[in-house]
Amino acid sequence: MNRDHISDLPDHLSDSNQRAEMATLGMWIFLTTEVLFFGALFLAFTIYRHKYSADFVAASDHLNVWLGGLNTFILLTSSFFVALAVAAAHAGNRKRTNWHLCATVILAVIFLGIKAIEYHQDFTEKLIPGRHFNVSGTDSSAIAHQQLFFCFYFIMTGIHAFHMIAGTGVMAWMIMKNLRTKEDPMTQTDRIRVESIGLYWHFVDIVWVFLLPLLYLTGLERL
């Protein structure tokens, strides 16, 4: 393979196609570790959901389905924009890539804002596990099980939000970098970076897509 024209290719790679493939593979390996990470939480939740189903359904009723649904819509839209950013990067259009990344970041911030509003509502309704936890009912074990639901809710959505903050930070960095180099043509490195953050972002979206039915949608039916 003729590597003369590629100046910055490391020795262990034979051509730039392999470089792109290895970057994608590396990101997928990382995402697999993230699947392990979230998977354990989902498994623990599922076990208790099965064991204390009535109490978990009653606890889920306290969550705002409309805010959960709105946040899902926002996150799906942000995934759409990240996919557009990747397409723009493939076309070598740095400006368009940047605009799409900006749209993604804005939507991410809106998501986090709505999450903060939800957490605040949960705080005022005394749903945060701990000394002040209070739901209606007199059966102490049912109340304990509802508190367990909210432990899962805060930990899972909290860790998800942390992943979103990290991803948003990386995208903000990329946006700044793009602004500084806006006259330069896009290199393969630029393209690989956008693809990688795209993969990460879609994964975070998929986690939320599963959190929605488990946490929000199995409450009792009322509008």
């Binding site: 897509v209 039915p213 949608l217």
Partner: protein, 87 residues
């Protein structure tokens, strides 16, 4: 990927979301609601992985690694379920 393809996938995802929310308000039995809810979530995830994450265009090597996480999850959930459901 063409803009029209990405847009179609996005619209599909939004429709699936509408289905999720609509179903949540239907008087279904609890565990059925959960199963259908998760099935719709799996459909959304499949669309995201196949199209948005470009697995549609990737080599077998990437596809195997992409599937590995899901395969491991399947093992973990099935074996745990076998334990709990036979107690």
């Amino acid at each position: 990927m063409k803009f029209s393809t990405l847009l179609s996938v996005y619209i599909g995802l939004v429709l699936l979301l509408a289905l999720s929310l609509g179903m949540a308000f239907m008087p279904l039995h609890g565990s059925l609601k959960l199963v259908v809810g998760l099935a719709v979530a799996a459909a959304k995830a499949t669309l995201i992985v196949w199209f948005f994450m470009h697995v549609r265009y990737q080599s077998g090597l990437i596809r195997v690694f992409a599937a590995a996480g899901g395969f491991w999850l399947l093992l973990m959930f099935v074996l745990t379920a076998v334990d709990y459901l036979t107690r």
